[in-house]
Symmetry: C2
Subunit: 194 residues, 2 copies
């Protein structure tokens, strides 16, 4: 069992409806030492890939991405925004994304200034479930002509379709913890062996 | 002139309506090396303060806060959320905040689990203008009984009331760059001498 799986068993809380709460260390209160370890592990898993930029999505992806960037030569991080902002003028890439958590549709937006065909991207996010957010980011990367060299996820819900779909498309998707099942009554979490 | 002021002159863009675009390094594409330097400088300015937690607000504050935390003994970062999420159950602190940028009102929310009277906070954010977001964070900290040891801001618009108000209330507010004036026609930015 790796460090993230251990942490999930220690501090994660299983709720009804296949909800795993990891807000004490991953997406509300942030354990920056844990994030640093995640960066170290992603650097190991994506060794040899020429990555020059990290792409993520607000809000929970940002903290992880910034910590991970240290392990990829301090490359810049670009985060996609979920709403149109008056500060985000000029041309932008846009994809429509349905949120599993919030049950709504967001426009995922990245300024055209910050993605180009020169970019070799590592996409980073905290969760992968049905994969809509991730598909939006990949769509934007393709539109920019950028290469998606790899995808690094903290926690994948392996019993939802997102991960399988992305791997079927040929991407190197590395999830530090893949959950195959959760039981809210007993509080148990079953990880896929890696 | 410090490293952030120099970077603003190099890569910032002044727009009509007192808008300063720094999206190439601060709040859309993120320069993690710059964030690390900011952390170093905040550590110098808040030397001797017992800080055990960093409080920030999504989205642009998160990346800076995670980089800054490394310079404060890898203390945890808590970010306030701007909308109610179905994953954020249980008791929460809430403050109403008016956004200068987006011209709307948000509920700023922090779970009660992650702020308490044991906490000595450093509040971090990217921008300070009229100070509404910051006031919301201070309100939440006070409600939790936490101590606000300091406030670290990347860019303060010194010609708006936020900074003066917060300093008048007795807080140690450190802004790495304080802008006293901007001119969109000439593209000039005038910094307050520090």
């Amino acid at each position: 069992m790796n460090f993230l799986e251990e942490r999930i068993l220690k501090d994660g809380v299983v709720k009804e409806g296949n909800v795993l709460k990891v807000d004490s260390f991953l997406n509300h209160q942030l354990d920056v030492e844990l994030f640093d370890k995640m960066g170290e592990e992603f650097a190991r898993r994506f060794e040899g890939k020429e990555i020059n930029k990290i792409l993520t999505i607000e809000a929970s992806g940002i903290g992880i991405a910034v910590a991970v960037a240290r392990h990829f030569n301090n490359c810049p991080v670009v985060f996609a925004k979920k709403t149109r902002s008056i500060n985000l003028d000029g041309d932008m890439y846009m994809a429509e994304v349905e949120s599993f958590t919030h049950k709504n549709i967001n426009n995922v937006i990245v300024s055209k200034k910050f993605l180009s065909s020169d970019d070799k991207l590592l996409i980073i996010d905290d969760f992968l479930a049905n994969g809509c957010a991730l598909q939006g980011l990949i769509q934007i990367a393709m539109e920019a002509g950028a290469e998606v060299e790899g995808i690094g996820i903290a926690i994948e819900k392996g019993f939802q379709v997102g991960g399988r779909t992305i791997r079927n498309l040929g991407y190197q998707l590395e999830s530090l913890a893949i959950i195959d099942g959760m039981d809210a009554t007993t509080g148990t979490v079953t990880f896929r062996p890696q």
